[in-house]
């Protein structure tokens, strides 16, 4: 079998760009990823750390030294050399060790929120604000959920006036696309306000 490799020196570099999708359990993260991208399962069997040992009961399974975290990610090939990776991140704080890795070098994040359970999105918002990771808030409009005014949500979540909030239907491709476009536009705007670093 030939293990030939495409010319590593030539052509453009393959660029993989990460976008994080955060939010509480059952808010529609996987639905949104699936609406706009080719969804792929990822198993992360992580060695149990002291932190997770405190929250994961290991009674009866004392020999257990790893914990399995199932995670999905989505791939959107924008061009052959430019691919977006959407990572839905489990909302609970005990998974923050995963977020830390996912967040490094990420383009930005979408916090998906359900107006019936806004408080579930607090940890994610807190996380991105503290690490200065650009993010937007997308309100998944579930059937039967009362529609809230965006500004009420802004107040409830204590968001800056220029922070984009979009209403979306996580099942719709067009809607999910719009969410991602809003994020990239927001990042572009934020970037133009700051002098570009690292350029001589």
């Amino acid at each position: 079998m030939d293990y030939g490799v495409s010319d590593p020196g030539g052509n453009r570099q393959y660029r993989a760009i990460k976008i994080l999708l955060a939010g509480g359990f059952g808010v529609g993260k996987t639905t949104l990823v699936g609406a706009v991208s080719e969804i792929r399962p990822l198993r992360t069997e992580e060695p149990l750390t002291e932190g997770s040992l405190r929250t994961d009961s290991t009674a009866g399974v004392e020999g257990k030294t790893t914990t399995t975290v199932a995670m999905d990610f989505g791939r959107i090939s924008l061009r052959s050399d430019l691919v977006l990776y959407l990572f839905g991140t489990p909302g609970q704080q005990r998974f923050w060790f995963m977020w830390d890795e996912l967040a490094i070098g990420a383009l930005g994040a979408v916090v998906l929120a359900d107006t019936r359970r806004l408080a579930d999105s607090f940890p994610a918002i807190d996380y991105f604000e503290r690490r200065q990771i650009p993010f937007i808030v997308a309100l998944n409009c579930f059937d039967g959920a009362r529609r809230y005014d965006k500004e009420d949500v802004r107040l409830a979540l204590d968001l800056e006036p220029d922070m984009p909030i979009v209403l979306c239907d996580a099942r719709s491709k067009e809607s999910a696309k719009e969410v991602l476009i809003t994020l990239v536009e927001h990042v572009l705007m934020t970037a133009s306000e700051e002098p570009l670093s690292g350029i001589a």
Binding site: V5, F73, L78
Partner: protein
């Protein structure tokens, strides 16, 4: 040391080996760490793949075209931690290069952001 005799398992047999048994119990990989979307590329043709464990060979085959750590982990259906150790083994053997995505080094430049924006609009 894995031998050819141990390669009778197929996908339908399911995982009969605990994932970290594939790594001889190692839970940390060697060398420099790499991102979930770091690009992996095989460097050369392997004359004698029989010296590698089946999982290492599978990973190596996937890396014949540039691919990411996350994609490989999904394709081989092994936990990410295990795949990382396999990749680091292959790197140590000089069989793959693992390249940090361009965007990791500094903030994503505006040119790339515009490319992403146009790409999304065109979906």
């Amino acid at each position: 040391m894995p031998s050819n005799e141990e390669r009778w398992l197929d996908a339908e047999a399911g995982p009969v080996v605990r994932p970290y048994a594939l790594t001889q119990g190692r839970t940390r990989h060697t060398g420099e760490s790499f991102d979930l979307v770091a690009t992996v590329m095989a460097t050369r043709t392997l004359a004698d793949p029989g010296s590698l464990a089946p999982e290492h060979i599978s990973v190596l085959q996937l890396a014949r075209v540039p691919t990411t750590v996350a994609d490989i982990a999904s394709d081989v259906d092994l936990p990410l931690g295990v795949v990382r150790i396999i990749l680091a083994d292959l790197r140590e053997l000089g069989l793959v290069v693992i390249r940090t995505p361009v965007v990791m080094a500094e903030r994503i430049d505006k040119h790339t952001l515009r490319e992403v924006l146009n790409g999304l609009r065109g979906l």
